[in-house]
C-alpha cells in the first residue's frame, strides 16, 4: 500500500521526499500516544476508566526531564518517568478501587493535579533545552529502501521497542492466564471473584502498569524529541487523543498502533505542509486538525456502534464491592 502511495506521489510530481519525511516523523510522533493508549487499554480492560492520561503523561515528562537534566542518564530518566506516572495512577487506583470514588471525577482530578504538579516542579527549568538521548538508528540493508526505509527502518530504538510492546500486550491479554484473569475482572468481576481471583489486586496492578505506560510515553517525549521544557504545550492534549483512540481501537492493542500513526500524521501536518511549501493553510487551522479528527472519529464510531458491539469491557466504570453486591 505504501509502495503504491509512493508511486502515486512520484508520478504526481509532488516532492516525494517531504511526504516521506512527514510520514517518518508521524511514526515517531505517534509513539507517546501509542504507549499511553496501550496503557489505557490495560487499565480499562480491568474495568477501570482512567481519564487522567494527560496528567500522567505530564508527570512522566517532567520527571523524565528533571532526571535527565540532573543525571544525563536516559535509563534513570525513563525509570523516573515511569515511577512518577505510576504513582499518580496509584492514587487513581486507591480512589477508585479502595474508596470506590467516581472514576470520571477522579480521572479529571488526576489531570488537574498532574498539570499543577508538573508546572510547579518544572518551573525552575522552564525553557531549558536538552539534547535528545535517542537518535535514529539505521537498520542495515533496509533503511535505504525507497519510502519504507526512512519511514520504518530509520527510527529511534523505542519505535522498534513499541512494536514488541504492542505484540506482547496483545499476547498477554489474549493468550495468558493473567490476561484471562484481567479480561474476567473487566467483563464480570463477580464471576472472577467467585473463581478466586482477587478483583482489587488485578485492578490495582493494571491501573498502575497502565499509568507507567503513560509515563513511558512522557519519557519518550523528553528523550527522543529533546524539547525545551514548556509548561503549556509539552503534551498538547495527546493524552486525551489516546483516550479516544482506545474507543476507536475497540480496546485492542494492535488496532491502536495504526490509529496512533494516523494521529501522529495529523499532529505533524503543520510541519509537513510547510516542508512541502503549501502555505495557504493557516497554521492554527492545521493545529486544530487532530482534535477535529478525534471528534469526527468518535462521533462516527458511536453512530455505527449499534448494540454496543465495539467491545467495551462490560464492567467498565463500575466499582466492585463484594459486600454490597
Amino acid at each position: 500500500m505504501i509502495g503504491s502511495f509512493a508511486s502515486f506521489l512520484a508520478t504526481s510530481g509532488i516532492n516525494t521526499n517531504v511526504w516521506v519525511v512527514g510520514l517518518a516523523s508521524a511514526v515517531s510522533f505517534a509513539m507517546p500516544i501509542l504507549f499511553a493508549a496501550v496503557g489505557e487499554i490495560l487499565c480499562e480492560r480491568s474495568g477501570i476508566v482512567n481519564l487522567g492520561v494527560e496528567g500522567m503523561l505530564l508527570c512522566g515528562v517532567v520527571a523524565a526531564f528533571l532526571a535527565y537534566d540532573a543525571s544525563d542518564s536516559a535509563a534513570l530518566s525513563m525509570v523516573c518517568g515511569l515511577l512518577a506516572a505510576g504513582a499518580l495512577a496509584l492514587v487513581h487506583a486507591f480512589l477508585c478501587i479502595t474508596l470506590r470514588s467516581n472514576q470520571t471525577v477522579s480521572g479529571l482530578a488526576l489531570v488537574i493535579f498532574g498539570a499543577g504538579v508538573s508546572n510547579f516542579v518544572g518551573e525552575p527549568v522552564e525553557g531549558k533545552q536538552i539534547e535528545a538521548a535517542f537518535t535514529d538508528l539505521r537498520i542495515p540493508g533496509l533503511h535505504d529502501l525507497p519510502v519504507v526505509g526512512p519511514v520504518l527502518f530509520h527510527q529511534n530504538v523505542l519505535v522498534y521497542v513499541s512494536v514488541l510492546v504492542v505484540i506482547s500486550v496483545a499476547f498477554y491479554i489474549n493468550r495468558t492466564r493473567p490476561g484471562l484473569a484481567l479480561r474476567a475482572v473487566g467483563e464480570s468481576p463477580a464471576t472472577a471473584d467467585a473463581q478466586g481471583i482477587s478483583v482489587s489486586k488485578v485492578r490495582y496492578a493494571h491501573v498502575v502498569i497502565g499509568g507507567m505506560f503513560a509515563g513511558l510515553g512522557g519519557a519518550y517525549i523528553v528523550l527522543v524529541d529533546g524539547p525545551a521544557w514548556n509548561q503549556e504545550n509539552t503534551t498538547g492534549g495527546i493524552g486525551w487523543i489516546a483516550l479516544a483512540l482506545v474507543v476507536f481501537a475497540s480496546w485492542r492493542p494492535g488496532r491502536v498502533m495504526f490509529g496512533a500513526i494516523a494521529f501522529g500524521f495529523a499532529l505533524r501536518a503543520n510541519f509537513t505542509l510547510q516542508g512541502a511549501q503549501i502555505t495557504w493553510f493557516p497554521a492554527e487551522v492545521l493545529r486544530m486538525m487532530p482534535y477535529v479528527l478525534t471528534v469526527v472519529m468518535l462521533i462516527a464510531v458511536s453512530i455505527t456502534d449499534v448494540g454496543n458491539k465495539l467491545g467495551a469491557p462490560a464492567a467498565l466504570g463500575r466499582p466492585f464491592v463484594r459486600d454490597e453486591r
Binding site: 488526576l110 488537574i112 493535579f113 510547579f120 492554527e284 468518535l298 459486600d323
Partner: protein
C-alpha cells in the same frame, strides 16, 4: 474470647448527618494543604510561612480580597457550568472552550452591534452574545451525546483545543475583524465600546460601617452580580421547576426517568446548552469586565478546568459554588501576589493548580466517609468461631 484478627470494613451510613459533609470538605482541604506542603518543603520553601503569606495577600487585605472577588467571578460561572451537568451525571469539561467562544462572541457584539446603544442595553447585549457563543460551542457535543451516546467528556475536551486555536487564529493568525489593525507590534484585539464595559466597584472615599477603605478602583465588577444571579436562577431551575425535577430524577436513575416519561434526550441537550451558556457568560465577563477586548492570553488560564474543581467541592450546590469559587479565586490571587514576595516565599504560580488538584483528589476520597463509616470488628479466634459462623455468613448480604 481471643482475638485472632481485626476485620476492617466499610459500612453504609444509615443516615447522613449534614455536618459530615462540611467536616469531610474541611478535612480534605487540610489534607490537600499537607500534600502541597510536602511539595513546598521538597522544593525548599517553608510551607507554613508560604500559606500564611498566601492567605494574607488573598483574603486579609482590602486590595487582596477585592482582587480575589474579581478572580472568582469567572469561576462562579464556570463552576455553575460544571455543576448543572453534574446534576444529571453529564461531564461538560468543555467550559474552557465555551468560555473562549463566549469571549469571541461578546467581543464581536461589543465592537459590531453595541455602538450607539444606551449603557445597560449594551452591557446586556454583550453578555447575552457571550452566553449564546458558549451555548453554540456546546451544541455538537450535546446533540451527539443525546442521540448517539458519544462521550461528552472527550468531545467537549476536544472542542477546548479547537476553540483555543480558533481564538489564536482570530488574533495572532489573521487580520480578522477582532484584531486591532492599528497596532502593528504584538497582535492585539480591537477594544469594545465604552458603553458595553462592565462597571467596576470603587472603594468608598469615606469610611463605611466604621471601616476605613483604601482609595481607588477595585477588580470587582458587575460580572460578579451576573454570577450570583445565575447561581440563584440555577437553584430555582433545578430545585423548584418541573424541568429541574426531571433533571434530578435522570441523574439519580435514568431508568426511573424513562418510566416516568421524562425526555432524557431533551434534558441532556438543554442542560448542556445551559452549561455552555454559563461558561460563555464567564468569557463575556472577562472581555467586558477586565480586558475590554478578545485577549487569548487573558482567557486561556484554565478557568474552565478549575470550574470542575469548584463544582465538585461544592457538591453541585449553586450557592456553595459561589463560596468555593471565592475560596479558589483567592488561591489564584494569592499565588499571583506571591510573585512579588521576598525570595524565600517566592513560589511558582502553579501552586494554585497543584493545590486545586490535591483538594479535588482529597475531597473525592473523603466522599466515601460521608456516606460510609469504617467499622472495625474483632474476629474471634478458632475456639469461638463456631457460634460466630452463622453471623459471618450474613456478611455476604448487603447490610
Amino acid at each position: 474470647m481471643r482475638v485472632a484478627s481485626i476485620d476492617v470494613r466499610l459500612e453504609r451510613r444509615l443516615a447522613v448527618w449534614r455536618g459530615t459533609a462540611l467536616l469531610v470538605t474541611s478535612g480534605s482541604l487540610l489534607l490537600a494543604l499537607v500534600v502541597g506542603g510536602i511539595f513546598l518543603k521538597l522544593t525548599g520553601h517553608p510551607p507554613l510561612d508560604v500559606y500564611r503569606e498566601l492567605a494574607k495577600t488573598a483574603y486579609f487585605n482590602w486590595y487582596g480580597f477585592t482582587d480575589t472577588l474579581g478572580a472568582s467571578t469567572p469561576l462562579v460561572l464556570t463552576g455553575l457550568a460544571a455543576a448543572v451537568g453534574f446534576k444529571m451525571n453529564l461531564y461538560n469539561i468543555g467550559a474552557e472552550g465555551q468560555l473562549f467562544l463566549g469571549g469571541i462572541a461578546s467581543a464581536w457584539a461589543g465592537i459590531a452591534i453595541v455602538p450607539g446603544m444606551p449603557g445597560p442595553l449594551a452591557v446586556l447585549t454583550v453578555m447575552f452574545a457571550g452566553a449564546l457563543g458558549g451555548a453554540a460551542w456546546a451544541f455538537i457535543p450535546a446533540l451527539t451525546r443525546a442521540y448517539f451516546n458519544t462521550s461528552e467528556i472527550v468531545t467537549t475536551l476536544m472542542f477546548n483545543f479547537i476553540g483555543l486555536y480558533l481564538m489564536q487564529y482570530l488574533i495572532q493568525g489573521s487580520y480578522s475583524y477582532w484584531r486591532d489593525p492599528k497596532i502593528v507590534g504584538f497582535p492585539q484585539g480591537k477594544e469594545i465600546v465604552d458603553a458595553a464595559r462592565l462597571p467596576h466597584w470603587n472603594f468608598p472615599a469615606d469610611s463605611m460601617f466604621g471601616i476605613a477603605f483604601p482609595p481607588g478602583r477595585t477588580q470587582v465588577h458587575l460580572g460578579l452580580a451576573f454570577g450570583v444571579i445565575a447561581a440563584l436562577g440555577l437553584w430555582v431551575l433545578i430545585e423548584r421547576t418541573r424541568f429541574g425535577y426531571g433533571v434530578r430524577v435522570t441523574g439519580d436513575s435514568p431508568a426511573a426517568a424513562r418510566y416516568a416519561g421524562i425526555s432524557i434526550r431533551g434534558s441532556i441537550i438543554v442542560v448542556m446548552l445551559i452549561s455552555g451558556a454559563l461558561a460563555g457568560l464567564a468569557g463575556a465577563g472577562i472581555v467586558a469586565g477586565q480586558g475590554y477586548k478578545l485577549d487569548p492570553g487573558g482567557l486561556a488560564v484554565a478557568l474552565g478546568y478549575t470550574g470542575i474543581v469548584v463544582a465538585a467541592l461544592a457538591r453541585s450546590n449553586p450557592f456553595a459554588v459561589v463560596v468555593v469559587a471565592v475560596l479558589l479565586g483567592g488561591l489564584r490571587t494569592g499565588a499571583d501576589n506571591m510573585q512579588s514576595a521576598p525570595d524565600n516565599l517566592k513560589i511558582p504560580v502553579a501552586i494554585a493548580g497543584m493545590l486545586e488538584g490535591a483538594v479535588l483528589i482529597c475531597a473525592l476520597g473523603g466522599e466515601l466517609f460521608r456516606t460510609h463509616r469504617i467499622s472495625v470488628r474483632r474476629v474471634p479466634s478458632n475456639s469461638d468461631r463456631e457460634e460466630h459462623l452463622s453471623g459471618a455468613v450474613g456478611v455476604g448480604v448487603s447490610p
